[in-house]
Symmetry: C2
């Protein structure tokens, strides 16, 4: 027992609590080429395989109760004394040392308390384990038996193929009726009939069980969310289980009704956040709560009303009873989440910018004011910090940044712009994140003819050299939205009417460089402007606003690159997230310097990744665990106390 | 690893899932004689020691977080190959076989996932373990280090000395304020400061934390119940933690406010259950819900109003803010519990008499309609069956029947009479329980001059040969309550006016046997009666009613004795429980044959043991676990389908 191979030969980063690296798993599934993946130490083999698209049998979703996720663990590199570490289940590997080998066979994964229910002593010695309880705290080789059933999968997020393992499960059972010789209590009778799940009933289920069982001739469907039995329904309702994913944006809220059996979106609706009258951005809403003691309740209720209205709309559109929605997932920035839950947001709005908690406890949908199944659960995507919220964690999850070796840059452009860079294999924070105060220019605020991206907004601008405008809603141009602003500036730079310092060139120079456009350079109120259409123009100060915004963002991603000593050219993909990101022209974004100067196909609009992350959380408990694991994988870099921030910012103001 | 000693030499009953026996622990505490105790297999060494009054250091209450409950496990009888079984934590010992020895030292308790945080490899090899995670699945010898602190204890129940380990804990902490270089979220800052507890916050605590921390200069008290952080209070409130124990009787409800820091009762109040107008006993209340669909809600609300009123009264009497009551415990029969929770009681009232569940999930006090701390928890004592409820489990707990080798008989006399007999060492059901339908005679119902035990009720009767009556409330006799009924019949038997068949003797014989009393034998409405005082009399039919009641009870305990092949004379103590039991004269109870014919000092009034059991659950999480363990220790014997019941019943009608 004491001749354990030394832990030498592993990198310094495989200890779980150092957070400095990952462990490697070699997954051997019959009939498929071996697959090597790396995951944060401490995650289960089941999660590790799921995250990388490798299916392992399971019907309980990873609670150790179905005993189907059988794998065989082989010590990797055991014969050369390299990489084998015997460690306690989820314990600190270092402390346990050589005392954690439970079966004398050198298996690096100890026998969990449930393994003996699934395997005999001989199998345990051979390294058989339940994958959902086998924690990878050192490098492992894992054999995965052929699948007994083909798992369902869906494509979600940025082209991610996700194995469906929703927390919501249903089981139809036909029970024996009680007799004087079998007085088993109602709930125990029901629970005994669930052969792959061992949920704890909540009071609602306790109240329902006896009545429903008797009314339905003891033919009932158990409704389980995670490890809680939330209801007992008459007859076979197992085909009907739904969830709603919310992207709770500061401006817009999107709800997607998902069929959890198939992973299919049934209905999608969006609307403006009803909190809008209290302010356009998070800071103004936080300020509102600081000025008026009743504002927190009002904002909470507005968020709830928004979500509840959307939930009812998607249910109606999908023809689904709200009582068959058993779980919701919510991705939002920290302020939106705290307001929706009635948590005072003041500490988020003033230095040192502190949030209430990164990960919220298990909640009910009713805690968010939603009128769905009375015991529907709510899962809130965890947040990294006050300005890198659950929406960004959801986005990183949906884009699979951490499961991929390409160096990628994720930018969610907005008033507060969140930036994530990574991964860097073998580094302490494998992903780096920061928030850059871009200001409201992209929302059309502080821009002379600025407006939201709604009917009448100019969203694209091309100078060919005639002025070609794309206008939302096929109406006459009424103003300029964020993507139109970026386009306008980029095009004026290209044709030379703006110089690299951001100044409109003198009239003579304009006439020389772009004779067809020079006539549009004029002045309004003493300020030089470029007329786009009718009375819609771009002013010199508008250009300055954009310069401040893009400099803040570029400073953010450049500081993250510097933190890792990586060059701009090493970035393999830029993901533009959020609704604004979807409309931004990659070419213009490069030209104004908002994003690194990469070949355009490498700059990708990722769409509404926050909403996709919320969907993932509903469709797979492993993905949900992955979101939590991201908190350990992403290191947050605070810009506001960086001494080099201002110097870099000033350097980056020019185009 | 494979030369494990055989499991031979142990009795067949030490496997956990057979339920056929107990495991023995030899507890070695410095400076005290060795102590041998037996407990159900699978309980923790910490619980086993606590139940037997042996203290082990702990501040977290047994959640594996304080790491103070250090013990050293020695394989008992290891050198003779006897009694050592290496088993997985809480697993099925048989399945694991010899594969469960985690450290090569022959220690029968595997290393738990938290042990490596508390001990180094050398200590683990020497058998050091955390007692709260060390499950006793085989016989063990355990060394207990000297205590670092002297644990508080209180005397509760039938003279039980209980170590105080309430689920409600408070910790006062002074936190560092956040800065730009330390943006730790509020809750994580608080949780990190709790060095011996690792609770999960609930939403209420998440909402409170930031506001309270900032308002109180980051000097706050964390309120933890079990493993949940339920609140954050400003300043140091650690001295103020209270609980309310309820004995929810069909007739009377008793509430005791307990100071959980000292175990002291602060105030006690009782009142009639406000459900009374819907029926005197459980069957009539169940019937009410079957006849009227609104009755369940009405009865639920009546129970809640009763408890809430009592809770406010004890808080007021004790000068304690209801917001400082963080937990309640409730002992009641299955019908009372189901009604209070709004669970349809119909299946309890009709064959085959099925309850909703034996053990209820974690509840909030607000689920019981109580207006205390908004997140106060509620623990309901588990029930064995429809007619052996949580009140009886509480009573057995409070009397310590299972922790004692004396053969004892527990009788809770009432309309439904619950009987528990045991323990029998080495038997499958170490304790046997049954319910006997005694009928309402003891409540004064069906008795011509019967009444409740209230002012004017004759509660004692002595024929010396003059008639000496004890009357409740020092007023003129108005009727006969249960204890008076038993006394009257017993005395009439003693003086010979009733014969052994229960018939009043002929007048001539009466004059000869008891000349001073014979004149009181007369007739009312054609029925022979014995006049006790004024117009209060005992009729021939009243005697018959008592005969039916006592025969039902005696049949119950005799069948339990027969089940074990034990004789009446082997019983070492009879515990008369419930409020009626407190007033019953042991001599009269023996004379009428209600209890076995033992020397009178062996027949003990145990008082309100249900309420005492509820107190125990509040004062010690180990006692609460003990109540759950009782469900496995007590075997329920259903009388209604016993073919020998009627024969025995008829035999026992005579006195």
């Amino acid at each position: 027992m004491t001749e354990q191979g030394p832990a030498a030969g592993r990198g310094p980063g495989t200890g779980r609590d150092t957070g400095s690296g990952r462990v490697r798993l070699r997954l051997l599934a019959e009939g498929r080429p071996p697959r090597e993946v790396s995951v944060p130490p401490g995650v289960s083999v089941f999660e590790a395989a799921s995250w990388n698209g490798v299916a392992i049998d399971s019907t309980c979703g990873g609670h150790g109760t179905c005993r189907k996720c059988r794998i065989r663990v082989t010590a990797r590199g055991a014969d050369d004394g390299n990489g084998v570490s015997a460690t306690g289940e989820a314990g600190d590997p270092g402390d346990l040392g050589e005392a954690g080998d439970p079966d004398g066979a050198g298996c690096p994964v100890p026998v969990s308390r449930l393994d003996p229910r699934a395997f005999g002593p001989e199998q345990l010695r051979e390294g058989w384990r339940l994958a959902c309880l086998a924690r990878a705290v050192s490098d492992l080789e894992v054999e995965i038996p052929p699948l007994a059933t083909r798992p369902k999968a869906a494509t979600v997020g940025v082209g991610r193929q996700v194995i469906l393992r929703p927390a919501v499960q249903k089981r139809y059972v036909e029970l024996a009726e009680p007799t004087l010789t079998d007085q088993t209590p109602d709930l125990e009778r029901l629970l005994a009939a669930l052969d792959d799940l061992e949920p704890v009933p909540d009071l609602h289920a306790v109240r329902a069980a006896g009545k429903v069982m008797r009314a339905a001739d003891f033919k009932v469907t158990a409704v389980v969310v995670d490890d809680v039995l939330i209801d007992v329904e008459p007859g076979d309702t197992s085909g009907s289980r739904y969830g709603v994913a919310f992207d709770l944006g500061t401006t817009t809220v999107v709800a997607t009704l998902l069929d959890l059996s198939s992973g299919t979106p049934v209905a999608v609706r969006s609307m403006l956040n009803l909190q809008q009258p209290s302010g356009a951005d998070v800071i103004s809403r936080i300020s509102a709560t600081m000025l008026d003691p009743s504002a927190l309740d009002r904002l909470r209720d507005a968020a709830r009303e928004t979500m509840d209205q959307l939930a009812r709309e998607v249910c109606e559109e999908g023809g689904v009873s709200p009582g068959h929605v058993y779980e919701v997932a919510l991705a939002g920035n920290a302020t939106m989440v705290q307001l929706a839950l009635g948590i005072d947001p003041e500490p988020l709005g003033v230095a040192p910018f502190v949030m209430a908690t990164r990960a919220l406890p298990a909640l009910l949908a009713s805690d968010l004011g939603l009128r769905l199944h009375p015991r529907a659960r709510a899962v809130v995507l965890p947040a990294l910090g006050a300005y890198v919220g659950g929406d960004i964690v959801a986005g990183v999850l949906a884009s699979g940044m951490d499961r991929d070796r390409r160096l990628r840059l994720f930018i969610d452009v907005g008033t507060n712009c969140e930036i994530v860079l990574g991964p860097f294999e073998g580094r302490a924070g494998r992903l780096l994140a920061t928030a850059a105060p871009a200001g409201p220019a992209f929302e059309g605020a502080q821009i002379r003819c600025g407006m939201r991206a709604s009917a009448g907004a100019i969203e694209t601008v091309r100078l060919t050299p005639s002025v070609e405008l794309g206008v939302i809603g096929d109406v006459a141009p009424a103003g300029l939205c964020g993507s139109g602003l970026v386009d306008a500036v980029a095009e004026l730079l290209r044709v030379g009417l703006l110089d690299r310092s951001g100044r409109f060139v003198p009239e003579a120079q304009a006439v020389r460089l772009a004779p067809e456009l020079a006539g549009r350079l004029t002045t309004v109120g003493g300020e030089r402007v470029f007329t786009l259409a009718g009375d819609v123009f771009l002013s010199q100060r508008d250009v300055r606003e954009l310069q401040f915004a893009k400099a803040a963002i570029a400073t953010g991603w450049r500081l993250l690159l510097a933190e890792y000593g990586a060059a701009e050219s090493e970035i393999q993909q830029v993901l533009l997230a959020g609704s604004f990101g979807s409309y931004l022209s990659p070419a213009s974004a490069v030209r104004v310097g908002l994003v690194p100067d990469l070949a355009l196909p490498r700059i990708v609009s990722a769409g509404n990744v926050a909403g996709e992350g919320a969907k993932l959380a509903l469709l797979s408990v492993q993905e949900r665990a992955g979101a939590l694991a991201l908190l350990e994988e992403i290191h947050y870099v605070e810009l506001s106390d960086r001494p080099d921030f201002n110097d870099r910012f000033v350097d980056l103001l020019a185009f």
